[in-house]
């Protein structure tokens, strides 16, 4: 299409007028620090937002306010001592943190836990996932001003914590996994108790679905907000429910050969095509249900036998390098363990899920409103210990 001179001139004039108007009306943006101390950041994450009115035009997460140096600390611990540390990375699903490290150490030593220990490990792993995600489901309401769900979550999460406590002795930090098996066998009556608790958790999922997910306001706050397409999710290294919510069918529990018992149970990996906040929350709700199913089925399949293989009293891991990652509550969590044949690891690199998950924050927060910042952060679900290690 060719333009006449007159058209071109009028176009240029209108552009110039627009530019002049923009310069005249340009308002000063406001920089808002969300955090480090802020109710929505679950700890001390700082998100620097530049606002135009209530719209975010630029956002950047600034992590590191709670850095505890676990990677370095592992170098001055022996292998069995490391589980005490890594427990505290994702403090809500702490048993799940121990498993990949122990599996990596076992891989280096070329031993494997006995079948009974493998099944119990898987059960405890899934229980810690339930403990973690059920709190997320309750917290979701609080981020939007609905205070009731979180108390229901705390009430029902207690059943799982009691189970973990009666089996391991610790509610939050079990420190129960050992190289070559588990510290102890299950206490008497634990399996029956676990069956009942899992039923209560299934009911809790139904309650939350009715109370929160079925609410029109909740849906209008969640649907179509914070959409992360599959390509972007892959580019930013998202993992776990955040990735599956973008439609990528990828679950390390199913896709990986590990000496664990997930393949003994019949369960489903849920994906959602939308990739918005709603999808991420919905995926987590379904996963809690799947976890309950896994636990229910595995409780019937615990084989007899010891829970510990023969390992030397003083564990020296042979020299070598091993990488093991598992599908933790928050996403892929992996340990790259380098051993020089000493009592402790020479170097440990921890790949924690939340650190990668929040890397998408600058991309996804661009152009949203301040209230949506909170819901998007809530739906991405990070735990500060998991970001800062």
């Amino acid at each position: 299409m060719t333009l006449t001179d007159r058209q071109q001139l009028s176009y240029i004039a209108s552009q110039a007028a627009d530019a002049r108007l923009n310069v005249e009306l340009e308002t000063e943006g406001m920089t808002l620090n969300i955090g480090p101390q802020h109710p929505a950041t679950h700890g001390t994450l700082r998100i620097i937002c530049r606002l135009d009115g209530e719209q975010v035009i630029w956002a950047e997460p600034s992590a590191g306010y709670m850095h505890r140096g676990y990677e370095k600390l592992t170098e001055v611990r022996t292998f069995p001592q490391v589980t005490t540390l890594v427990n505290r990375i994702d403090w809500l699903g702490s048993f799940a943190n121990e498993v990949p490290f122990i599996l990596a150490a076992e891989k280096l030593m070329e031993i494997e836990a006995p079948p009974r220990a493998q099944v119990i490990r898987t059960i405890l792993f899934e229980l810690s996932r339930i403990a973690n995600v059920s709190l997320f489901l309750g917290d979701l309401g609080v981020q939007m001003g609905a205070v009731t769900p979180v108390f229901l979550a705390f009430r029902d999460r207690e059943y799982v914590l009691n189970l973990i406590e009666s089996a391991t002795g610790g509610r939050f930090h079990p420190n129960f996994d050992r190289i070559g098996g588990l510290k102890d066998d299950l206490p008497k009556g634990w399996i029956d108790e676990a069956r009942q608790s899992v039923k209560k958790l299934m009911q809790f999922c139904d309650t939350i679905e009715d109370l929160l997910f079925g609410n029109e306001i909740f849906q209008s706050r969640m649907r179509g907000i914070g959409v992360i397409p599959a390509e972007v999710a892959k580019d930013y290294g998202l993992s776990g429910p955040n990735l599956r919510a973008s439609g990528v069918d990828w679950d390390l529990r199913r896709d990986q050969e590990l000496p664990m018992a997930w393949d003994k149970a019949d369960w489903k990996v849920w994906t959602h095509p939308d990739g918005d906040s709603w999808a991420r929350c919905w995926i987590r709700l379904q996963e809690t249900r799947e976890s309950c199913k896994i636990v229910e089925q595995l409780l019937d399949q615990i084989p007899a036998g010891p829970v510990m293989t023969k390992v030397p009293r003083i564990i020296k891991v042979p020299a070598g390098e091993a990488w093991v990652s598992t599908e933790n509550p928050l996403g892929e969590m992996g340990y790259y363990v380098v051993s020089k044949g000493d009592l402790g690891p020479f170097r440990v690199k921890i790949r924690s899920a939340s650190f990668n998950n929040i890397s998408v924050v600058p991309w996804v927060l661009k152009g949203v409103y301040v209230p949506d910042v909170i819901t998007i952060l809530a739906s991405l679900y990070f735990i500060l210990g998991d970001i800062d290690r």
Partner: protein, 352 residues
């Protein structure tokens, strides 16, 4: 009009009015905080709530007030201090201005305005000023966002509220709150006067709009963006502590009580019981027995607590809207609906 048997001097009457106003504002506020904020919320969330201070924790509020009074009265360094300090008082002032027109019985009122409902709608928005200057003078970005959100929201919801009351005014044929009460209790439903004619039946749409608007005026969930504790920390009251925070807190629940009083007058028959029961004549308030001045406040309080229970029930179970969704809801749904309600009321009023 029934005259007092003993003459009370003017200063005594004034003193009684002040004491009465304080009681009418603070007693419902305390009751709401204890019954709903402490107990109902706790039971909904499967916990007990305060149990230690007094029987079933009923003196917890006294302990809380004591705690707040002890705290230091802080002002941020860069705040506009005089305005910052006066803001909570303006918010509380609007509550006291509102209670002035609320009738609690045939003679139990503070003033008897001919245009009572007009006055109530007008002074109800004074609190916006207080909230706005609290947000602005705090020198805090969260406060500023909260204050601006509050201004937008309260002005947007003022309109459906006024329009919802218009239906009642058309039906009652008066703007005087006492006359509205009489119109309901003296009314008849198809010749049957045993229930009176509470306007909640004929003005049900108006009642719903009014309660939604009240929810928004009180900045309760699902309309609590000005406070939005998970986004804006505490919105316009972020920087307030101690006694000034307490005033905001009292104002919030006292206003809930006063608006519930007004809603009970407009839609539930206020202080009255159906006049048919005792053969009272609505045209002459003098025929209403004197004991209604004592029973009236109790009946009003019952209705008020029922309405506040609904407000609080919604507050404890719903998540909050986003700012633009809230404006859309007000302008595109509530206001057209209330206009249609007024039109329908007017047509039916003329035709019947």
């Amino acid at each position: 009009m029934v005259q007092f048997a003993i003459e009370i001097p003017y200063w005594g009457q004034s003193l009684l009015r002040v004491v009465g106003g304080l009681v009418a504002v603070l007693l419902p506020a305390g009751g709401i905080v204890y019954l709903f904020l402490f107990k109902m919320m706790s039971f909904m969330q499967s916990r007990l709530g305060p149990m230690e201070a007094g029987p079933y924790g009923s003196l917890q509020l006294v302990a809380e007030v004591g705690k707040w009074m002890q705290k230091e009265d802080l002002a941020p360094e860069r705040a506009d201090v005089p305005i910052y300090k006066i803001a909570p008082l303006i918010v509380l002032l609007s509550t006291f201005l509102l209670i002035v027109v609320v009738p609690f019985g045939p003679d139990a009122y503070f003033t008897d305005f001919e245009t009572g409902i007009f006055y109530a709608m007008a002074v109800g928005s004074v609190s916006v000023l207080g909230i706005l200057i609290a947000g602005w003078s705090s020198a805090n970005k969260y406060s500023l966002l909260g204050g601006l959100r509050a201004a937008g929201q309260l002005i947007a919801y003022e309109l459906p509220m006024v329009l919802a009351t218009l239906g009642v005014v058309i039906q009652a044929g008066s703007m005087n709150l006492n006359q509205i009460v009489v119109a309901q209790n003296d009314g008849e439903i198809f010749g049957f006067g045993g229930l009176g004619n509470p306007f909640i039946i004929t003005q049900f749409v108006g009642f719903l709009i009014f309660m939604i608007a009240v929810q928004a005026e009180l900045t309760q969930v699902p309309f609590d963006m000005p406070i939005a504790e998970s986004e804006l920390v505490s919105g316009y009251m972020t920087e307030y502590s101690g006694f000034r925070f307490l005033i905001f807190f009292i104002a919030e629940f006292a206003t809930a009580g006063v608006f519930a009083f007004i809603a009970s007058i407009l839609f539930l028959g206020g202080w009255g019981i159906p006049f048919d029961w005792f053969g009272w004549d609505g045209a002459d308030l003098g025929t209403v027995d004197n004991w209604m001045n004592v029973a009236g406040p109790i009946i009003m309080a019952t209705k008020m607590f029922i309405l506040v229970a609904i407000i609080m029930w919604v507050r404890f179970s719903y998540p909050r809207f986003r700012e633009d969704q809230l404006q859309t809801f007000a302008w595109k749904f509530l206001i057209p609906l209330s206009l249609a309600n007024i039109a329908a009321t007017a047509i039916l009023k003329v035709s019947f």
